[in-house]
Amino acid sequence: MKRPFAQAGWISLLAAGLAGLVPAPAAVALEPVAVYESWRGSSTLNSHRWLVREDGQNQEIALGIQGHRLHMRHRREGGGASNAGATTGVQALLAQNPLSIERIEVDLQVHNLEVSGCAANPGTTVVRPARLALATFNDGGVGVGQIGDHVILILVSAPADALEAGSVLTVEGDLARCVTADCGATVSIASAGTVTVPVSKPFTLRAAWDRANHQVFIGVSDHPDVALRYDAALDAARARVPFAALRTAVTTANCTAAPTVADVELAVREVRTNVSAIIPDR
């Protein structure tokens, strides 16, 4: 069931309160945001600000600046040997100064989206046009790598297997704990719930970490930000692997009848961060 973002956030907060989380206080003073990247200062990526990573085996991929926007395209086909399992490919844009970033906002628009699933292996061919992630703290738990890191995750998903005329994108926001060394698996500590946005309309994702008050904020477009509080004792140290990243991900099911397809083109417009994280033009 889809619930308005703020409403769902409050419901999850009430539930989370039973586990030690409490509703957020009134608005607190966070460092203001300003433009980190507008894609206007150069026709190529500024390596002081960005690094790009591709994971998984994809076919088409494209990432480059066109018309003051960064275009990220990403397509993969599924395997044809069976009707079981699926494979994911990822393209990620990593900010180069994650330790300085406490707030990040990105203006996005999906320019193209294609999903073609498999009747014999349903539900797993999915495009996730965007995921904004900001690592925050580590809870000191035993483990290696990112285990115990807590990450603000705002995930934008398209419907699985096929798109229809009225399809919308679903946006989910969580404070999540990494449970594997590479953070490939997470558990939600607190959820801001879900909202939907039209596929073809621009939208904005916002993540903020208010460390002093033991809370994070998650926002989408004009929906009010949702505060998710956490137990102060969880914040034992900064995240072991600090990162602030925007990524696209496509997952294609294996299918013997015909290759499944997941294809997305995302335009990244302006990126804003807290002022102290901004890296000047070169």
């Binding site: 190529t44 990526l45 390596s47 002081h48 960005w50 690094l51 790009v52 990573r53 591709e54 998984g56 085996q57 994809n58 076919q59 088409e60 991929i61 494209a62 990432l63 480059g64 600046i65 395209r73 397509r75 993969r76 086909e77 599924g78 395997g79 044809g80 290759p259 070169r282």
Partner: protein, 281 residues
């Protein structure tokens, strides 16, 4: 620098020789001409790229456009940042004994660093064949471990300190052994042999074949003679642990505190041919 180039060409002419076609050699056939699908076929190709900046692999008409751009690090003025690729791999490398690609470098930028004697290297295009290893049969190797694998390569490259005219690249062939799992440490086994030069906006053909019966790889540019990349039989102790047949762009940007160096190449991949038995219908 030009004298050195000519000397290298002269040396390469002395070591290149027309290699007789072995009686067992298969005919070449078209593996890919980009005409059977509007997008890259997953049954024929597996692609990936390394940490970097702009990148592209997209079909446009009957060519595949590839781009890869990587800036270097700025923490020092020594050495290079590493080597980084955008690669297109054939799905069935263990079937590939011959690989021929029609390629075109459409644009190339490679910049160096005044304070760093290490030049940046842009391998605008390269074809690789990794088919054999010198590790004794039965030696355990983890999946993906390149240790002992031997990679034959033809690379089209330009260094940031090149004195050649703008847009001119050197084509050379070499065979090297990977000395560690990631292939970051290598030993040169044969070559490099200079095959010639190409220029941007010029379609050229690279051809690489493996001839285990004569203990060599053969490499050629366009209609030029085959150059032999010979190895001792001990190099072919068993199949490669991590076999691949790839077309790639690769950059080795120099470190530079004054500002990042850049490697940026855009290429067009036209037809790709392999031995007929490796073709995927």
């Amino acid at each position: 620098m030009r004298d050195i180039t000519f000397s290298l060409l002269l040396v390469s002419m002395l070591v290149t020789r027309p290699a007789p076609r072995p009686a067992s050699a298969e005919d070449l056939a078209t593996y890919e001409d980009w005409s059977t699908a509007a997008t890259i076929r997953a049954d024929r190709w597996a692609a990936s790229s390394d940490l970097g900046h702009e990148r592209r692999r997209e079909l446009h008409g009957s060519t595949l456009a590839m781009r890869y751009r990587r800036e270097g690090l700025t923490f020092s003025d020594t050495g290079s940042t590493g080597f980084f690729s955008n690669r297109l791999g054939l799905r069935n490398p263990v079937s590939v004994t011959q690989l021929e690609a029609d390629l075109e470098v459409r644009d190339l930028i490679v910049t160096g660093c005044m304070a760093n004697p290490t030049a940046s290297i842009a391998r605008a295009a390269a074809i690789d064949l990794n088919r054999m290893s010198d590790l004794p049969p039965g030696t355990p190797s983890a999946p993906g471990d390149l240790t002992g694998d031997h990679i034959a390569r033809i690379e089209v490259r330009r260094l940031s300190d090149s004195m050649d005219p703008d847009g001119v690249m050197e084509v050379r062939a070499l065979l090297f052994r990977s000395d560690n799992p990631g292939g970051t440490l290598t030993t040169l086994v044969a070559g490099p042999i200079i095959l010639g030069q190409v220029a941007t906006r010029q379609v050229f053909q690279l051809r690489l074949s493996w001839n285990p019966e004569s203990n060599e790889f053969r490499a050629a540019l366009n209609d030029g003679p085959n150059a032999s990349l010979a190895y001792t039989p001990a190099s072919n102790a068993r199949p490669a642990n991590s076999p691949f047949a790839t077309i790639r762009i690769q950059h080795l940007p120099a470190n530079c505190t004054a500002g990042p160096t850049v490697g940026d190449a855009e290429i067009a991949v036209h037809a790709v041919r392999t031995n007929a038995s490796a073709v995927i219908p």
